[in-house]
Structure formats: structure tokens, C-alpha cells
Symmetry: C2
Subunit: 226 residues, 2 copies
């Protein structure tokens, strides 16, 4: 899976509604692709509907397997999150073990990317659900990035502020450790200026919530990487 | 680091004494190398003494970093265990995070191999210390092996029975999942027949305790892989 040219992704939440005509406009926005993902209570039909809307439009659609409903056959890209700063093995490998045990040989491994998540906003639902230790310094984040790069050789290190705009020094601390592992940033990007600030450091920026709050503003974030 | 031709390793415990003349005989035994490792209470001078005895003798010496005393500069090979079936994040990534944070840039990553451990003997000190969930079926072990191979792409999946001779069906279940990840087996190998049984399945067998119980018998286990 070629990630080198990916700079901007929209994150779509199957539990939320996009405005009319949004699919066409998103596909033509200049973004590099879409992540379908959400933390809880996902309905399989909503996931499938969203996938079908985007899958045939020529841009990569990444299914982020954070919920059983995301284990949908037929996608060409799957993302598997490992929460590196969790305090509960379930979010590092436990849930994964259950899925691998159950679905075994059906998992299309060449289409799977493992994301090493570092969740930094203590108030985020994702942080609470995943029991993340968010009390981290820059050296802590750097050490997780180094583990992703050197120890686990993960394709992606994902700094996640989920809902709030993050501290770019944390992102920079991660950036300084990474050579082969790509740095992804998500959280609170609502303006072009914010998109530009984070994309100057991260390889990929992910734009999510603003899609459902101010669609026009969301589309504009693409210009930060073009 | 070329592991392809490694089939047999002796595991040396810095807390235990080898008989007189043992170093020469071990080096000439036909083994492929040595692991220096132990679970607890290691003394830095004992570790260094053992390392110096073996390091200049032409065979690889792997320092298994399971204790602060093992973080000894100058070795050419380091093994970093991740206990895949632990119930405590400390043994998956927590301790590692502390070490990477503290030693950072001094870690010679190209000389580091990460071992995905699956500890299966509930009575072993290692299992208790690492809070391993040892109540595993063959499908559980297979799923951990698949995670090591496909998700984490680890160089080594280590089935550890630590002190007792294991169930070869568990080893076979792991074997069936592995292509690029090497399968290492350790635990209770005391005879050539046992060494042969496990080396028919595992890529590498590790012989430990018997070195300190019946040295001649330990030397003979090498013949199983020659």
C-alpha cells in the first residue's frame, strides 16, 4: 500500500450525517482519501452505506477496525489501531488477539496497516474508552514514536488529540524520532491555518469533526497541503 | 543480523555457575550461539563477566534485556522480549517505554531483535512475574503467532515453557502461522530426543537449565540439530 503521497485524509463517522451532495464534493476536494472510523455503537448498515458511497470513487478508503462493525469484507485498506499509551492490554493486543483468533485466515494481511496510536486529549471519548495515559511529556511521546519506528517498525504513528487542537511540540517530538514510520496527526483541525501548522510537521493530517460542523470550512483544509 | 542458520542456542544465567572449563567446551559444542538472560536480581558484574567469557569466541552472544543489568553497552546483539500473552501492559510495552525514554539515542537499534514471547508454563517464575495468561488453547497460540508474523512483523516468536518440557502441539500451532517470523522454543529440553522433537518444529531450540544440572547432557542436545 503506497502511503508516500498521502498528505490529507477525511475521517468519516458512520454515526453522523453528511450534507446533501457531500460525497461528490469530498471526492473532488483534493483530499488523498478517507478513513471510515468511529469509537462506539457502530451499525453495520451505516458502515456499509458509507463505504459504498466512497469505495468506487477512485480514492483510497481506509476502514479503521475499532469496532466489530468495521470488520467488513471487501475493503481494500484496513487500519488496525494499537493504543501505545494505553494502560489496558486490551487496547494494545487483547482485542486484536480475539479478532485474529476468530477471523484467522480471512484477514487480508497485505491490505492491513497497523497504526501506533498515542492519544493525548484526556477528555476525548477515545482516551477514556482506551484507558490512555495522557499525562505525557514530550520525551514520553518521543519514546512511543521511537518504539513505533525502531521496535515495532509500524507503518503509522498516529498522534490523536480527538476533538481538540493539539500541542505542535508534542507532534514535533514524535517527528524527530521517525524515519520510516509515517506521522499522522488528528484532532481539532478546523481552519486552514491549523491544517497548515500540523501538516508542516506531520506527514498526514486527518480532518474529522469539522466535516459535521462546518462542511465548507472542512473542504478548505485541503488547501493546506496543496 | 542473520538468523537463518541459527538452530540451537544455549541460554546462560548470570546468577548460576558453570563447571570449570565449560566455556571452551560450549564454544566448541557445535551450538550456534548464546543468550545471556535471566528473570530477576541480576548483578551487573556477573552479567559482564559472563559476556566477556563468551563475546570474543566467535559465536554470537545475545543479551536478552529482561532486567536493567542487561542494558550493557558493547554487545553486538540485543533481544527485547515482549510478552504477547501478558495481562499487564508493562510486559508488552511499558517497561520498554521507560527504557527507550531513558536511554533514547544510545540504543543500537540495528542490533536489536524483538522477541514476541508466549509463556505457557503457569508455574514458571517468568509467567508469574510477567502476569502471563497461560490458559491458552492451540488457536490462542496460533493467533498470537499470527499477530507476531502479520501484524507486528517480529523477527522472533518465542514459545516459552520455562523449566518444563512443552506440548509440541502448541508449538506446531504456532509453526503453521509463521513464514517470515522465526519460531524459537525454550523449556525443559534435557535430552537429545526432546531436543530433536522440538527442533523438528521450531527453527531454533534454546537449552538452558540442564546446563546447570547435567552439563554433559546439555552438550549432547546440540547433536539434535546437526
Amino acid at each position: 500500500m503506497e502511503l508516500v503521497h498521502v498528505r490529507h485524509l477525511f475521517k468519516l463517522d458512520p454515526a453522523k450525517c453528511l450534507p446533501d451532495g457531500a460525497v461528490d464534493r469530498l471526492v473532488r476536494s483534493g483530499t488523498d482519501g478517507f478513513i471510515i472510523g468511529g469509537s462506539d455503537g457502530l451499525q453495520l448498515d451505516a458502515v456499509q452505506g458509507l463505504f459504498q458511497d466512497f469505495a468506487s470513487r477512485g480514492l483510497p478508503v481506509f476502514m479503521e477496525v475499532s469496532d466489530e462493525a468495521m470488520i467488513m469484507p471487501g475493503a481494500s485498506h484496513y487500519l488496525i489501531p494499537m493504543v501505545l499509551n494505553t494502560t489496558d492490554v486490551k487496547w494494545l493486543l487483547g482485542a486484536h488477539h480475539g479478532i485474529v483468533k476468530q477471523y484467522g485466515d480471512f484477514i487480508p494481511w497485505p491490505h492491513v496497516l497497523v497504526e501506533g496510536y498515542c492519544i493525548l486529549n484526556p477528555d476525548a471519548k477515545a482516551a477514556q474508552l482506551a484507558k490512555a495515559n495522557t499525562e505525557l511529556t514530550e520525551s514520553d511521546v518521543a519514546a512511543y514514536a521511537s518504539i513505533a519506528e525502531n521496535m515495532l517498525r509500524l507503518p503509522v504513528f498516529y498522534v490523536e488529540y480527538s476533538g481538540v487542537f493539539g500541542d505542535s511540540r508534542m507532534l514535533q517530538a514524535a517527528r524527530d524520532e521517525l524515519v520510516n514510520t509515517k506521522l499522522w496527526y488528528g484532532g481539532g483541525i478546523r481552519t486552514v491555518a491549523q491544517a497548515r501548522e500540523m501538516s508542516a510537521i506531520a506527514g498526514v493530517i486527518i480532518v474529522g469533526n469539522i466535516l459535521y460542523e462546518d462542511f465548507e470550512q472542512a473542504l478548505e483544509t485541503v488547501s493546506a497541503v496543496r
